[in-house]
């Protein structure tokens, strides 16, 4: 007990010094210029404010049901923290003493687990195992010293299927006391999957594998905010996952290195260049690169159906099915009917038809060259020269002659046409194999240029 008080005192003094040094003016507002680190940007999200109280950084999380917009046109009944999902990003510095108050405004008990953060066992937040449940209406205080740095997470650890299925998670980022190198733009993207029956608003927490909405920071494209950086910026993207599936996150235009896991920094000797990093459930990964090539670069999960919104699994396969003639007949019975699917799904993105309420089209998003035809886990890294703010700069203006485009037909390579002819009767030509009508010999294929 004595030991505890002694520790407490030391920590108190240390944190006071911290508070004096790092939060000089007003501990209520975290001012970027005063921070010893580049603050993390949570696209479509925010950072949790904190107060210094006797050298302790005090945060307050409120777990509660919320209305959350997945993308314009779709609002879901989610559970989150402080009005958002993912909850606001907690940022602190290695060595900080943090006190996190958690108020439960959910209809059922909860507990918050500090995922990857090295804490005393009683602060680990496992409902029933290391603490009593936080009953609805109660506020619990978690307090511990941060002994590490890295990208960690927090999430509810009670009735996880429901609470996490509805969005109760967030980032817990611990900056090192002293950075090896300066990061210019530090982004945090939480991966998540949901099942929201088309036409409904409440994610179904009972679904285990068959998800239909895939999100970056609980937003689906085209609702995802772009990552805006200046040319030459050193960029870090922290990616966290407490969902059900692994996600191969792929960045266009760059090689990057994976510099850290949730367990700590990866030694430089163990880093290697790559374009896709897989983030498994329960993991975080930090990737870094220098943004030296301007442009609008796609960043997305590489599972085909993840950068995509809800689509039917049992719809008939219409690829290559000629619907001419039948389409009109259907319209006699159902006047709004449009034949779709014969030539793929792209035409759907251009039709702009009415879908079920509160449902996103399978794919869409207006781009500078037409429909982007994406959804879900998709966003854009916008690298620009000569920008003064990190506001969305709009679409990239490509230098002349640097965009692929259609070439003159006369310049196009000639398509090879195969025709069939009879060795005995060269006047016989036909486009399909067969036998000669004159002598019955098997026709031989020959290539001709049209």
């Amino acid at each position: 007990m004595k030991r505890f008080w002694r520790m407490f005192l030391v920590v108190l003094i240390l944190s006071n010094i911290h508070g004096l040094v790092y939060a000089q003016n007003d501990s209520e507002k975290t001012e970027e210029s005063n921070l010893p680190y580049t603050p993390v940007i949570t696209p479509n999200g925010s950072t949790l404010p904190w107060k210094m109280e006797n050298g302790v950084k005090v945060f307050h999380l409120i777990a509660e049901p919320i209305k959350h917009e997945i993308s314009p046109g779709m609002v879901i009944n989610a559970w989150g923290y402080n009005g958002q999902t993912p909850g606001p990003t907690i940022e602190a510095v290695e060595g900080d003493i943090v006190r996190i108050l958690v108020t439960n405004q959910l209809p059922e008990p909860t507990a918050v687990h500090w995922h990857g953060v090295l804490v005393p066992n009683g602060m680990d937040g496992v409902q029933g195992l290391t603490q009593k449940p936080i009953l609805p209406g109660e506020t619990f205080a978690y307090e511990f010293t941060l002994h590490q740095h890295g990208t960690q997470m927090y999430h509810s650890h009670g009735d996880e299927m429901t609470q996490m299925g509805l969005g109760t998670m967030g980032f817990f980022i611990i900056h090192p006391k002293k950075s090896e190198h300066k990061i210019d733009r530090d982004f945090a993207i939480f991966l998540n999957e949901w099942f929201v029956e088309p036409g409904t608003a409440t994610p179904n927490p009972n679904i285990m594998t068959d998800f239909n909405i895939f999100t970056f920071n609980s937003r689906a494209y085209p609702g995802t905010a772009p990552l805006v950086v200046k040319k030459g910026d050193r960029v870090r993207i922290r990616i966290g996952n407490v969902g059900q599936e692994s996600h191969p996150i792929h960045l266009h235009g760059y090689n990057f290195k994976m510099v850290a896991t949730d367990g700590g920094d990866i030694p430089e000797s163990a880093q290697y260049p790559e374009t896709t990093g897989v983030i498994f459930p329960g993991e975080t990964r930090d990737i870094e690169f220098v943004a030296d090539v301007p442009g609008d670069w796609a960043l997305h999960c590489h599972r085909r159906h993840h950068p995509m919104n809800a689509m039917g699994h049992d719809t008939p396969n219409m690829i290559g099915v000629n619907q001419s003639g039948v389409e009109e007949k259907v319209r006699d019975l159902v006047p709004e009917y449009m034949a779709m699917g014969e030539k793929g799904m792209h035409e759907m993105t251009e039709m702009n038809m009415q879908g079920p309420e509160n449902t996103l089209p399978m794919m869409g998003g207006a781009g500078p060259f037409g429909s982007v035809g994406m959804g879900g886990m998709f966003t854009i890294l916008k690298v620009r020269e000569n920008i003064t703010t990190y506001e969305d700069p709009g679409w990239y203006h490509h230098p002349e002659g640097t965009v692929a485009e259609s070439i003159d037909k006369s310049q196009a390579p000639q398509a090879e046409v195969v025709s069939y002819t009879c060795p005995m009767h060269p006047e016989i030509y036909q486009e399909s194999p067969g036998s000669c009508p004159k002598c019955g010999m098997t026709l031989q294929a020959e290539s001709v240029s049209k």
């Binding site: 719809t315 039948v326 019975l333």
Partner: protein
């Protein structure tokens, strides 16, 4: 001699008076029977039909056959409605015509009842044996006096019987009209259902077409394709069944319209049922209305009246016959004697008690039958009222809820289709479900109209719409005073009839 002559003179006067009476009565009857116009009967029946159902035959026998044919042709030129079908049936249906002929038969019976028995002229001649003296000749003319006395009673009885026939004829015609309407509505709704089955077949055909093309493109298995074909064939079978239903309904209607079906006229009918009317007929005091209106009940009551009359006749007829005659005889000595003759049966052994008892039993039997019929009618009216109201509720649910909901399902399925969340088969299935609901709605509407006809039939006449005033809804009919069976039973025990 003088005294004798005087006596003979009195007799002569009496004889003359009797003779005159017989003659006069005969003349009255002969003149009387020709004095009522023949058409009055059918006019009366027409009037009943007009009052009860709003239809009239609009025909009298004077009109030529081709006149009727012309009118029928005019009705056939328009698409038939239930009303015009009834008009045609009234003009052409042989059963209705045959019922009208019953009126003539009843009238003949009635006239017959008003005729006296013909007087009997009898005589004999006897020749003297041995050639002496004149031939004895005796002549008599006589008639049954009671026949003359009973004539008014008999006529009353016959007139009641005639009334009964009129009621029965009207009732039969109303039954035929109800039949026409029922079969007309049946034809309409089977035709409508056939249209829905055609639509269902079309939807199934499109599904099959999609499956066929998907199969051709290598996108579905033969199993799925064949399953689609099975669905189509089922729809085809449904259509064939429904086609047969239309044929049966048509064939049932044709003879009711008085057609032979040899193709003399093509049957163009309004191919959909009338919409559900906004209100039902007034359902107030339906049972009382039925008891007051039913013509078969009126006929049954008439029958009791007839039995009462025949009882009177039987009771009066305790003395079965009194024959009076005038007799004249020329004796063989040349003297002529003339005088009246009478003959009467003495009711010593047979006082007609069994016959009287029999009629009394018949009266009570008829009264019990009437009571049973009244209870049956009450029950029938309640059942049919329930059927009609249930059918209305069902039609309203289909019309106001089910079919709009099915429409909404199509719109929402379409939205899911638009976002590639559902496929064309689900869209077509949503349409199929809508078609099924429409078909079921039509079946319920058919049930409604047929229940309404049945109810009208059970009530013995059309019921005014609910909006009309309560008091004016009961049609005035001639009430025949008949004692309630159980009361009359008591009455019979306390006193006799005369």
């Amino acid at each position: 001699m003088i005294k004798k002559r005087e006596k003979g003179g009195t007799m002569q006067i009496f004889f003359k008076k009797v003779t005159l009476f017989i003659f006069n009565v005969g003349a009255f009857v002969i003149l009387g029977c020709g004095s009522i116009p023949k058409n009055q009967d059918s006019r009366e029946v027409n009037q009943v039909l007009e009052e009860r159902l709003g239809y009239s035959r609009q025909s009298d026998e004077k009109k030529a056959e081709n006149e009727i044919e012309k009118r029928v042709q005019v009705l056939f030129n328009e698409k038939l409605t239930s009303d015009s079908a009834v008009q045609i049936a009234l003009l052409k249906n042989p059963s209705i015509q045959s019922a009208f002929e019953d009126l003539g038969i009843a009238r003949a019976d009635w006239v017959q009842a008003g005729l006296l028995k013909n007087p009997i002229f009898s005589g004999h001649a006897r020749f003297p044996e041995g050639g002496e003296g004149d031939t004895n000749v005796e002549c008599a003319i006589g008639t049954d006096l009671l026949d003359v006395l009973f004539l008014p009673l008999r006529k009353k009885l016959a007139s009641s019987q005639f009334e009964k026939v009129k009621l029965r004829v009207s009732h039969e015609i109303m039954d035929v009209i109800a039949d026409v309407k029922t079969h007309f509505y049946t034809l309409q709704f089977t035709m409508q259902i056939w249209t829905m089955r055609q639509m269902a077949l079309k939807a199934a055909e499109i599904s099959m077409e999609f499956a066929s093309r998907q199969h051709e493109a290598g996108n579905i298995s033969s199993l799925d394709w064949v399953n689609e074909k099975v669905v189509y064939e089922q729809a085809e079978l449904d259509l064939i069944h429904s086609e047969a239903d239309v044929e049966v309904a048509r064939e049932k209607l044709i003879p009711l319209l008085g057609l032979s079906g040899k193709g003399e006229m093509s049957l163009q009918i309004e191919n959909h049922l009338p919409e559900l009317p906004s209100s039902d007929p007034s359902l107030e005091e339906l049972e009382e209305r039925a008891l007051a209106q039913r013509l078969d009940l009126a006929a049954a009551r008439k029958e009791i009246e007839i039995l009462h009359r025949s009882l009177s006749l039987t009771q009066v007829g305790v003395i079965p016959s009194v024959n009076v005659a005038a007799n004249t005889e020329k004796d063989s000595d040349g003297t002529r004697v003339t005088g009246p003759m009478w003959e009467l049966e003495l009711p010593l052994f047979d006082q007609k008690q069994p016959a009287i008892a029999r009629v009394k039993n018949q009266i009570r039997k008829s009264q019990y039958e009437l009571a049973a019929k009244e209870n049956e009618i009450r029950s029938e009216v309640r059942i049919l009222k329930g059927k009609m109201l249930t059918a209305r509720k069902i039609v309203e649910i289909y019309r106001d809820k089910m079919i709009p909901l099915r429409g909404q399902v199509i719109v929402l399925t379409q939205q899911n289709y638009n976002y590639m969340l559902m496929g064309v088969y689900q869209l077509l299935q949503a349409k199929q479900n809508e078609i099924s609901s429409q078909r079921e709605g039509i079946e319920a509407l058919g049930d409604y109209w047929i229940a309404r006809v049945d109810l009208e039939q059970a009530l013995g006449g059309r019921v005014p719409e609910a909006v009309s005033e309560k008091n004016s809804t009961v049609l005035p009919i001639q009430q025949i005073e008949v004692e309630q069976p159980l009361q009359s039973e008591m009455h019979h025990h306390h006193g006799g009839e005369s």
